[in-house]
Structures are given as structure tokens and as C-alpha cells.
Symmetry: D4
Subunit: 251 residues, 8 copies
């Protein structure tokens, strides 16, 4: 029931063609979205960062292309389109739809930039520990930008070589939100969070072997961080971290 | 090496009593804190929310009292004092030091309010699922307030009774940060995060039995939330959630 | 907003004192329960088996008594009252409120019978493996009865002594729903389910030691049952099994 | 020992050619199935839903075809044949045996419909959270139908977008049994179960990554559901859920 | 249906008072135990080692005493009585029933010796690693003897002091079955099994701390033994090991 | 140092060419194997069942062939040769060395029979639950025979169809050792062990999906068996079970 | 067989009273320890750090006292005596035997110093993260000293306050072995190891709650350290770390 | 800020062109590395064993070659170059850059030897249990040598065949550090450590199946070793063990 229907109902009430009781009964059984609730959904992409997102993993190039096409033709939406965890074949399929689509091969992210509006108030800084963590960090970086934020990255500043991290202290201090990506022992967020007063979103990665258990070691370390400005998202969830950071940065 | 020492060193350089090389050598071995780095530490309580905090668990009433006393006498600090996870005996010991100390028996939090300055820009809303989650929720609520935030709470709005939660939609929408506390299946943060655009800090609780595994079920659910504005802290870590929320709210 | 308020709103529309647009706007922000949705909640105790339930664990005798008292005085409700996981002290407190309250010491269940209406269509049969599983089995049995079902129990029919189980074949065949309670290797539900065509609700118990891991061994066994009419509830959750069974039995 | 043998034995007793004691001794050692017990087995396909089922996973097209052929030629059985977790090559092999075989590519289910008798009393409703959960949901749907039930499905109603779920409230209320399929945080069954009074069979899926641990997060969430009309089957076990639901629906 | 009933049935057949068909029908529905199957049960204590056993853990002194009394008065049974995991108070209660009851305080085993018949063909040797493993080892030793075996023990021969173990090589070689009890790294069974050709029953103990996880480390080590004559029982299950060993030794 | 060397040493002592002290010193540093200890090793293949065994998994056909060749040419050994977990290509390579090599495709076992001596005293019976467990069961069966035992198998007697199992009661009773192979809920060993007095070696298999966790569910179930004559080997370890069984059967 | 016996044997050979063959035969059956192997054992306390150690946990004051007494009276040993994980009652019992016994209440270590010989070549430095880690750190410190090492400690230098740690850089650089004790996220060893070139022994502690899982989070972090000079001991095993460190320091 | 900049600053102070306060302020904000801290980094390869290391796993031949090339051309460094976990294709790419590059196919290690300086004081001995553990053992061996140590290996000395291990007692005793590599039950380090006084670095391998859980069984066993001179590194981390051993051996 859209607004029109509701308006019609009220009109009938006013015209006396519908009794109060009948109107109440019909209102009682309205699907929720008919009462404006559905608007929440329309606000949804907005809320999640002013971008349309496709989770590419497990989808064929054709499937992704079809979803992207429907996003591009949707009237009145000029948001950026982000495809995560895609490969070159998917990129080729998307590029056929949108010439300007850009591929980020490390993370597999594809971005179709349709607006350059910066909505975030400050800078989101993505910090990562080892070279193997870069794919996840890049996913966070690309997503943060696609969601309308100024975002920068510092890579390869692991805790066993503190001086490299400390050399970036100024940049760390200036960030409004920090996304901290680390595999193995997952110690970076604790160290970084101790240096800043901004909220730190920790992203464990599945980088490692043996007792890293696909990122569990890093995840547990981050959940147990002795720094009090750290919260955690799922293993390898660079995109999720960007969403949370973006949502904080827009506040 | 405090500033005085450094000043003296430079003075000797200027007076020609110390060669450049010797000065460089001495500077090279300066402990880091001597060069202003230690200031970070002084900024620390500030960063963590304008309050001094004692983790009460595992400490005797005497030990807690001693720490609190040292906080109270420290010059120039008028921050609130928060003791978490204390019991009535500890409260008695603390009350002897500060008449105005208040005890929150559900969470075991003790607060000595020494300032009422609101530093957070918006409201932190604490939402919890079941009555047994209230102790953790209360810890978050009390901590959020002690850290200088406006904070409110909605208790007992579990996902199996949606209408109760939906009845608070306005309050949910208005919060700047939401702390969402839930044990058992830990589904509440996903549902809440779907209704708002604010960042949601999820706190799993150890409430439950059997396959809840002391909060692991809720923790995993929250890490896997299908809502994209959710990040997670450790099981039962109401205080930590308040710190993260406070740190977002001050930005 | 109750019906009255809604009726008033419509009346104003009819009377022309409220424009359609204003009415729509107000309807849009109605709390859900005001539109009949809240009725779901009133139906809730009904749905859960025509009984009011208090989860006794972790509550003081005083707290349980208070909750029970509020249930007893609630107008228009004559449902049975069930307190689970209580002890003798809690029983004493409840008995003071309701002379007829009955205590089941093995499971710690307290029942205040206020009606004897049988709502379930068939018999719920509770089958358990070892003597140590009886507390959980009894919780299921007592709850099933309090929820308005005919319910019977067969105890101590472990799979290592098949003949005992097979001796009850007739009773098994006649049950409409079977609750099967077992700890240790949790094999009983598979064997029982192979003998009947009724749905079997499997309840793992925390009975065992070492590699039973507090019921995990039994839980996993049940989830992997090779019989296709088995579904599972949480470890030690006799009450939950009774709810599911009752809900099936009323259908 | 078939009936004939038993009859012969009794005849010898009657004829005095066999003493009571000798007869008793021989009866004592009868294999169980000889006394009618084996009939249970003949009842088995019946019990499991009036269909013959082949678990296709790990079997070659040739192996599946052979089993299906033996089912088709078995005298007196006109039940539907269901092959689960098959691929197109297996489908091709089956289709050669039965022209009418239908393939459901998302779930890999193959159905040879040989009867359209509806044995279930009500409707089984399959509800699933995300698009990636559809294969498991489809397996449940197809199986429920093959087992002689009216079955419908609602896809893509995750808990982070409540309004979509709530829009189907009528359908939910009318179902006699609900199968609720969800991966990631596995919250859907709790929310759905809170809206209905029918039994809800929860199926965790292995959809997700990182801390979803192949469906464990969803499984634990479901086992800890705060709704009391939820029971759980194994991860990805859409077929099992359909069996349990079918078994409840026939009662 | 006992033998008498069956005899009566046959008599009626013989007398022509019962048709073959009616007799068959009645036989078909006989509970299994009525056809001699129950005899298996009577053989049970026999099978398990010619002793009556009470699992003392979680039972009150009174409950244990009651069970023991019923064992002692059972006609025709002169088997030893073994109570495992009891304490001194339970022992006092048992001693009142049987003067000769003996208590083994390390393991908490109580034995009432009523026969001294050795049924095992060889010697069962119990070998344990550390002093803290002795309670479990003693349970195995006492049980093995109560079950009618010659049994000996070698304590405190951990793998980090090989010479002590090797000094017992002769005794190891002569044993017919070896029970090998070890906590911590659980390496002893592998080493012992490499020295002998007898079957080795490995018993992990919950001795240890931290990453021993209550015996899991030892359990896993034993399941992965590189020696091929090792099989494993549950953590701390000294009694179970004695049963298996006894059952092998009687063969 | 072989016997000859030792003899020479003693000769020198006798001849006075070596002082006692020097002799003692040299004896003190003797490698252990020189004093007969190494004999243990020669006994080893003997102890393990009179067969030479190659673990084929992870080895190339060439590598396996090389090892087998060295076994075949070793003087004085006429034991059977067993290769486990091989494939057809490995079989081809082995067959070139030994015409009579036989391949068991389900388990991947290759046997070169060089002797038919039965050393085991009774029959080893391999019982398995589902068709998918057959590869592991076959490995146990083939190994048991290669190790010099009479061995038989009963396949497909799962606990959800008891009558099939009970139909083999006689065979079960007559076995001297039973190897019980089961995946999923791993309940078969408990049921089988309750029917016999022989030792039961339980082999969990990795058959299953979801919460079977690659055989962990079955493993835990078996370790927690309520039957007292069950011990357990590693997941899928059919060969290991055959070794233990063979070692019991030879006693 | 001690040296005397061996000497006698050789004498008999020399005297011709024992044939070579008989001598060989007797030598062949010598228990290993008789050939000097046992000396390894005498060297054992030496190897483990020149101290006698009693693991106090789980032993009564009387039991500990008895063991200590036997150590004190053993001739020719003047090593220090260390009791770990004791309480005041045990200390009282030990003090009665040795006036000079010293108690370390945080760790529960008791030391009876009988020599002050420093055997380690450099300094062992114990570094710990939080105040709650001090008991484990103290156990390491006290043990390292009792084992004959120079040992120092730096407490409370967690990674979220880097400047504190960095202020001790000189002390870190000078240590020959570092023991690094940390609970929660266990990040300290990685950071410390990145600052030094000495071997770092990491000790996870069970300090923490929720997802620290009794020290598992810290243990995993340490096993996955990105620094390459880190090895790990069991959770809370301060004593073990001291042994390893001492053993490195003596080399 | 390099030394030159610092020197210039001091010159300005001396010349009076910069006030003390201004100088202090600028010093306060110096990036850490400018003050010599970065030197730690230059020392880093030195500390880690005088070799440049590339972790080959997950890198393409081209990527590895590029990194190696940059190492070879770096001025003033003549250290050995070690690539771990490479394959033949990577080797081919590296060999094109350095003729003398050597490939170790079992472990996948590539070594470019550029110096033969032995820096370690004693011998590092690598001991491994089974043939399948050799890849990890070889990685440790090759790395230990590339890092400037004398290193030897003993393979295939599992604990179920003690005599083989004991035959190497002399070699074990003479080693300065022992690396002990074992999969399955991981018992070897405990046994080896009991025979020597040198530090033992235990390396669990992922060799095994079923309940070895990819090396977890061996890892836990090693962490729980009853020998006190054992510390542990990550599963399969042969390189890490060599680093720790090398770092001990250089002390």
C-alpha cells in the first residue's frame, strides 16, 4: 500500500464511504512498508554510505553484471557502485556496462564512480601490518572512498618494527577514524589505538598458517585488546570496516 | 631527560662546551618519553573519556581503595572516578574515601562524580535483550555517563518480541551511537542496526547455558552480522563498549 | 496509540479537522503495537503453551516470588505457572503465595496448576538414556504437562541395552511427539527415531565428563543423526523441548 | 524365518512333532526381522515422507542412475524419487531413465514425480535470509513437495531489513510448519518464531566467511534462540528440515 | 511375556485352541525381551567383568549405599562390588553394609571382595606417567582386579626420564594387556607401545593446566599415536580402560 | 657394535689386553642397539601383524614402488605387503613388481599376498554403518586379513534401522574382536558393544557434513560410549583399528 | 647393576669363570641404567638449573613438606629448593623445616636458598604487560634466580602505552634472554622481540575474560608472532619459561 | 630528519639563530627514526641471522625474483639470501639472477650463498620423527645454515622406535641447540629434551589426519611437555625454529 492507497482510504473515510471500524481493520492489516516503514529501506543505501554494493564472491561475471546493470538504470540514483571480491573476468563484464569502471586487482574491488561528493567529516586512515594484509586493507580503502570519505593508507607497519609505525605518528593523530588491518598475532590495533584518541576499527585477516587458524588468532587478540578504543569486525571484512568507519565519519 | 636537561644540553652546545657530534650522540640515546612522547601518556586518561578507571575484578577492597585514593589526591585532575566489577565490600571501602561515591549493584560499578561536563555531542543509547543482560548493559550505561556522555537505556527488547523493540524506534533513530548488549543468539545488534544509521557497538554477554559456550554463540553471531554498521567488543565488556562509543561520540 | 486514539484520528479526518496529509504523517509514525501488532504479544503466552514461565536459575527466591505473584494477580489469566531450575528455598517462597504449588526436586521445577485443560492432541513421550539424564527429562515432562499436554516418560533406556528400549516399542509407536534426552554419546534419538514415525525432539544433556565437553559430544551426535525425523534443542534444555513438542502437539 | 517357516513350526507343535521346549528354543533364536519387525523397514520410506531419496553428493552419475533405476522398477512403489545434491551430468543420466525428471539447479535436487497426493495437513513455509542461502532453502522446498506437502517459499528476508519480513506476516501466520534457513548470524529463526505459533525448524547454512566457521556461528545462534518454538537441524541440511517438517505436517 | 506365557501359547496351539495365524500375530507383537533377548542383560554384568559397578560421582552416600545393598541381597550373585569416585563419607556408609569393604583413597574406589576367582588369562599392567596421574591409574588397577584379573602397576615413568621406563622393560614385555595413563603431552602410550607387542589401552588424564585443556592435549596425542597397537578411552576413564583390558584378557 | 665386537672386547679383557676400567668405559658408551635392544626393531614388523606396510597417501607411484621393491627383495622375509590409501596409478606401478598384487578400489588398499598363515585365534568382524563408511571399513578388513586374521564384514547396519543389525546377532556374538566403523553420529559402537562381550574397536569416519566437523562428532560420541567394552582409534584409521584388533586376536 | 657388579663380571671373564657367551648374555639383559645411562638422571637436576623443584599446586602442606625434607637431607646436594604455586599454609610447613625459606606471595613461590653461585652468563629479563600478569612474571623471576641466574623484571609495560616500554630500551638491549609475560591480546612479545636481538621466551597468561578463553587468545598471538626470535611455553608457565631461559643462559 | 639535519639544527643553536625553546620544540616532533632509532632496522637482518629472507608462499615467481634482485644489488650487503616455500618455477626465476642458487626440493627452500662465515658458537641439531616431517625439518636445517650456523640433521627417529633415537645419543648430547620436528602425537621433543641439557625448540607439523587437526594435536602436546627445556614455535614453522635456534647459538 503506497501513499496513494492510504490517501484513498482516508478519502473514503472522509466521504463516509468507509466506516471507522472498517478503516481501522484495514489499517491493522497493512503491510508495514505501506505505512512509510519501507522508506527505511530506501534510506538504506544512503545509510550504508551513499553507494550501491555487490558482494562479488561466489557470483559469476554474468550475475554480477546483471545486478550492476539494474543499479545503473535505477532512476534517481547517482550513487557510486562498488563490487567487492571480483576477478578480472567479472571486471571485463562490468566494464562493458560502464566504461569508467576501475579495477583494484589486489582486493578484487571494482568501482564505478558516479559522484565525488565527500560526506565524511574527517579522514579515514587504513593501517596494515604485513604485505599479505594489503588485499583486505585495499578493500577497506577503496570502499571507504566509494562511500564518500577522504581515505588514506599506511601499509607494512608491523609491530615487530615499531620505528616504521612511529614514523607515521602525525598521520595517525590526524585521522578521524582508523581502520587497522592485521593477520598473524593481530597486535597492531592495540599499538595503534594506544597512540591515538580516534576510534579504531580492527580487521583480523586470515593471513598466516598453522595456529593462526585462518585468522582466529588475530581475531581473538583484537577482541582482547588492552586499548579501550578498539572494536572489531569479522575476519577479512575490509568492506565492513569501511562501512562502520564511514558511518562514524558521517556522524 | 626532562625539558630542563634538554635545555641544558642545548645551552652547552650553544656555549661550545659540547660538540655537535657529542650532542647528537646523547640525543640519539634519549629515552623516548624525554622528547615529549611521554605526553601521550598524560593525554591518555583524557583520550579514554575524561575519567579514571579501576578494573575492580580480582582486587581486594583494600587494593581498590588504595588506587582510588591515589587518584583522588592527584593534583589538577578533577575527572570522575569509575570502579568496575566491584562488590558491596569494595563499595564500603571506597565510600570511606569519598562520601558521594555511588554504587550500581547490578553491574557492580562505583562512580565518584567530580564533574558533570558533557563532552559527547549526542546521546549514547544502550539497548539490551534479556533481563539477564542488564548487568552488562548497566556497566555500559554507567561508564558512558562517567565518561561525560548523555546516555540512556532500553532494556528487555529481545528479537523474539519485535513489537517491543519497534515501539522504541524514535529513540533508536535519535541516538548518535548505540551500544547493543545481548547474550544467547546475539541477534539484537543485527536487527537494531537495520533500523538506524548510527554506528552500533555490539556487546555479547556470557548469559546462556549449553551451546552458548559462555557468550561465544553471541560473539560469533555479532561478528557475522548482516548489518554493515556493527562492530564488536569482547564478551561482557560493557565498559569497553562505552569507551568506544564515547570516543565516537566525542569526535 | 490504542484503537480509541485511532478512531479519534479517523473521526477528525471525516470531520475535516485533519487533512489527509496530516493524517498520513501521523499514521506513518505510529508505534507498531498501536496498529494491532501488539496483539501478537498478548497471544504470546498462548502460543508458548498456555502457561506462564519463570526461568528460575540465577534468580533469588525473593525475585522469583515477586514475578510469580504478579502472574497470579494478573486479571483474566488462569494459566498454569511454571518455575524452572529452582531450589527448595525458592519453592518455600512460592508456596507461601500458592498453597497448591508442587515441587519436582530432580529438575527443580515448580508448578502451580490452575487449569487442567488438555490442549495437545496426542501424547508427548519423554525418553531418556541414563539415570543422570533424568533431571533434564523431568523438566521436559513437567513442562509438557504444565503446557497442557498428556505426557509420559520412559527412563533409563540407553542404547547399550537395546532390549530395554525395545520392550517399550508400543508406547513409542503411540506417541505423537517424542522428546529424547541423552548425554554422553547422544545416540538414543537416532535409535528411537528409527523405530517411530513421529517427530523426535533431541535434547543433549551435559551429563558426562572428559571428552563429553559438557554436552557437546551429545549435541554433535544429535545434529548428525542418520534418522531423518530428528531436530535438536540446546544442551540441557528440557523446557525448550517441551515447548517445541507442545507446539507440534497442538497443531 | 518368514511367516511360512513360523507357520510350519507352529504346525509341528500342533502336530506334536515338536515339543514346547524345542519350539521355545527355536523361537528364542529367531532373527528379529522374522517376527514382523522387518516390517518397520517397509514402513520406513512411508515414514520419511512417501518418497525414495538418494543422497547424490559424492556419487558418480552412473552410481546415482543405477540406484534410481532400482527404485523405479521396484514393484508396488509409486512414490516420488528425490535425488539431492546432484549436478547437471547426474541429471542427464537420470533423465535417460525417467523423461519427466526435473532438475533444480540451485540446490542440485532432481525430482521424478510419480504421484501428486498431498499428505500433509497444512502448508510448509520455507523462509530464508540471504540470496546465498537459497540453495539450501530450495533443497528444503523441493524435498517438502516431493514428500507430499504443500510448500511455499519466501526468500531474502534478512533481519537487518525487518520491513521485508514483516510484509509477509500473513503468510507466516498461516503456515503449519516453518523451515527457517539462515547463514551468517543465524538470527532469522528467532525473529520469525517470535511472530508465529507454529513450530520453526531452523537450518543454519555454511554461507559466510571468517568467523562464521562454515555455519557454526549460525548453528550456535539457532541453538540459543530466545524463542521457544525453535528446533535445529545440521548445517546446510535443507533435506533434513523438510523431513522433520513433513513428519510434523502429517501428524 | 516370560517363558511360561510362551509355553502356554504353544500349548494352546497344540490343543487347537489357538489358530496358527492368531499365534503368529501374537508372536509378532511380543516384546523382544520375552523371547530370550533379555538374557543378554543377565549376561551383562558377566560380560563387563564379573563385577557389579556403581558410578559414585554425583551420588549421595545414602544413594550409593542403597544401590550397594540391593546388589548384596540379590540372590545368586556373588560378584565383587565396585564403587568408583566415592569419598570417605560414602565409604563409611558402604562399610556399614559390608564390613570387608576396602577404600582406595587416591582414586576414591571402594571394593567389596566376594570372590577371588581369576578369570583373565594374563596380567594387566597399568603404567602411568606422573604422580598426579596416579588417581586415574589406581582406578584402573583396582577395577582390573575387581573384575577378576591379575593386575600390576608401574607409576611415575614419564617420557622425559626414559631410563626409568626402560628399567621396567621385562615387566612391560610380560603383560598381556597394558593400560597406559598419562596427562600433559600424553606421550607415554606411544613410547610404551613401541616396546611391546601387547595391546595398549591409552587413558588421557585431565592433569595439567593451560593448553592441556583438561586432558584434550593428551587425548589428541593418544589418538594420533604413531604406534599401531594403541587404542584410546575417554579422559580420566580409568574404569573404562580396565573394562576394555579385562574384556581382552578374558578372551 | 654387534655381538662379534662385544665378544672381541671380552676376549681382550680375558687376555688382559684391556683393563676392567677401560672395558667398562667402552661398555658404557655402547649404542643401545648393540646390546640386543635393536632386536626389538626386528621383532617390530612381526608385532605389528606379520606384514610390511606402506602408507600410500602423499607418496608418488614411483616412491611407493621403490619402497615395495625393497620389501620384496629383503632376504628371509616372506610377509604380506600392504599398501594403504593408494590409487590406480600406484597400483599399476606395484603390479609391475608383483604380478599377484591385488587392488581394493574402495579403500585404495593394495595387497601382495606372500603367505596365508592364519595367526589370529578367532575372527575379526568389521561392522559399518553407512555406505559411505565402506572405504574405511574395507581398509580395516583388508588390513586385518593381510595381518594374518580371519576377517569378515557386515556393511550398512546403521542404528536408525536396528532390525538390520539385530539380524546379524549370531555373527556378532561369534566374533573375537569387532571393529566398528561409523561416521555422522557415531552411535553404532555403543549399540554393537551392548550386544556382545568381545572388545569393540571404534573407528570414527569423516563421513558427514556441517556439524560432523570431519568426523569429530563421531569421535566424541565413541569416546563417550556408555558401553564399557569400547576403545577408539583416530578418524578414518581403518588400518590402525585392524592393527589393534590383530594384536588382540593374536594374544 | 652398578659399576661394582659390572667390574665383578669382567673379573670373572678375565678369570675364566664366565664364558664370553654367558657374559654377553648377561650384558644383553642389563637394565639400561646400570650402564651409565642412569647418570643422565643424576645430571637431571643439574641440567634443569641447579635447583630442586616441587610443583606445589594440588599438594597438601604436609605432602610438600615431606618432599622438601627429603631434598634437604639428601647427601651431597646443596642446591636451592624451589616450591611453586604454594600458599601461606604450605609456606608455614616448609618454614618449620628451613628457617631461611622465603615466600613470594604473588606467585606463591617458596625458595630455600642454599647457594648463591651464578651459573648463567648474562641477565635474564622478565617483562610483563599488565598488573594481573605479575604473579606469572614473579614465578619466572624467582625461578630464574633460584636456578642460578642474574634476573631482573620490568612490570606493567603494555603495548597500548608504548612509551613506557621504550623507556626501558637499554635494559632490554642488555639482556641475554628475555621472558615476556602477557595475557589478553598477548602482543608484548612481538613488540619486545622487534627491539632486541636476544631470544624471547613468550609466556601467555590466563589473565582476561570472555574471548581470552583462559589464555588461548594470548597463546595463539604468541605462536603467530611476526618477530622471528620468539618461542612459546604453556599458559601461565612462568617456571617453564625460567627453565628454558636458564638453559639458554648457561650455554 | 637524518643526522645532517640534526647537525644543522645544533649548528643553528650554537650560532644563536635558533632559541633553545624552538630547538626543543622541533626535537620534540622529530620522527623517531631520525634519532638513530631507525638503526635498529638496519641491524634487523643482522639480528635475524645474517641473511635476507623471502617468504615464498603465495608469491609468483616474478614477485620473488624482483625481491631477490633488490637484495642482491643492495650495496654493502653480502649476506646469504634465503627463499622459503618456493617451487621449481620460482627456483628457475631466481637461478636466472644468481647462477649459484641452490634448490632444496623437499622444503622448497632456495639458498644463494654469498658468505660462509660461521657465526653460531655450537651446532644446531635438527631431529625429526617421521619421513613426512622431513620437509619442515629440511626448512629448519637449510635456514639454520643460511643464517651462519653449523647444522646437522637426524631424520626418522620416532618415539615408537626408541632404539633408533637412543643410537644417536652422542650427537644429541653434543648439540648446542636442538630443533625437534614432529607431527601426529608430537612426543619427540619431550623424549629428546629428557636426554639432553641443551634448549629444545619444538616444531609441530601439520602431518597427520583426523584428530591431528592439521598439527594442533602435536602443538598441544609440545606446549604441555613434561620436560622443562622445551619451547615451541608455530605449526610447520621450520624457518622460525631456525631463527630462534640461531639467535640462541650466537649468544
Amino acid at each position: 500500500m503506497d501513499e496513494k492507497t492510504l490517501r484513498e482510504l482516508l478519502r473514503q473515510v472522509r466521504a463516509g464511504r468507509l466506516t471507522e471500524s472498517a478503516a481501522i481493520e484495514r489499517l491493522r492489516h497493512l503491510p508495514f512498508e505501506d505505512l512509510g516503514f519501507a522508506k527505511v529501506d530506501h534510506h538504506r543505501p544512503l545509510r550504508q554510505g551513499f553507494a550501491e554494493v555487490v558482494f562479488g564472491q561466489g557470483k559469476t561475471p554474468g550475475q554480477v553484471a546483471e545486478i550492476v546493470r539494474s543499479m545503473l538504470v535505477r532512476k534517481g540514483s547517482g550513487h557510486n557502485v562498488l563490487v567487492t571480491r571480483a576477478d578480472r573476468r567479472t571486471y571485463a563484464a562490468v566494464k562493458r556496462l560502464a566504461r569508467g569502471a576501475k579495477f583494484h586487482p589486489l582486493s578484487g574491488a571494482i568501482v564505478i564512480e558516479r559522484e565525488r561528493l565527500i560526506r565524511g567529516k574527517g579522514t579515514i586512515l587504513v593501517v596494515s601490518a604485513g604485505t599479505s594484509d594489503i588485499p583486505v586493507a585495499e578493500e577497506a580503502l577503496v570502499a571507504a572512498r566509494a562511500l564518500g570519505n577522504r581515505a588514506e593508507a599506511i601499509y607494512d607497519v608491523g609491530v615487530a618494527g615499531l620505528h616504521r609505525l612511529l614514523g607515521h605518528r602525525e598521520q595517525l593523530t590526524e585521522a578521524r577514524v582508523i581502520i587497522c588491518v592485521a593477520g598473524m598475532e593481530g597486535a597492531l590495533p592495540s599499538v595503534v589505538a594506544g597512540l591515538v584518541s580516534a576510534p579504531v576499527i580492527a580487521v583480523p585477516t586470515s593471513v598466516g598458517y598453522g595456529a593462526s587458524f585462518g585468522g582466529v588468532a588475530a581475531l581473538l587478540a583484537m577482541l582482547n585488546s588492552c586499548a579501550s578504543n578498539v572494536s572489531v569486525v569479522n575476519i577479512d571484512n575490509g568492506f565492513g570496516a569501511a562501512c562502520v568507519a564511514s558511518c562514524i565519519n558521517r556522524t
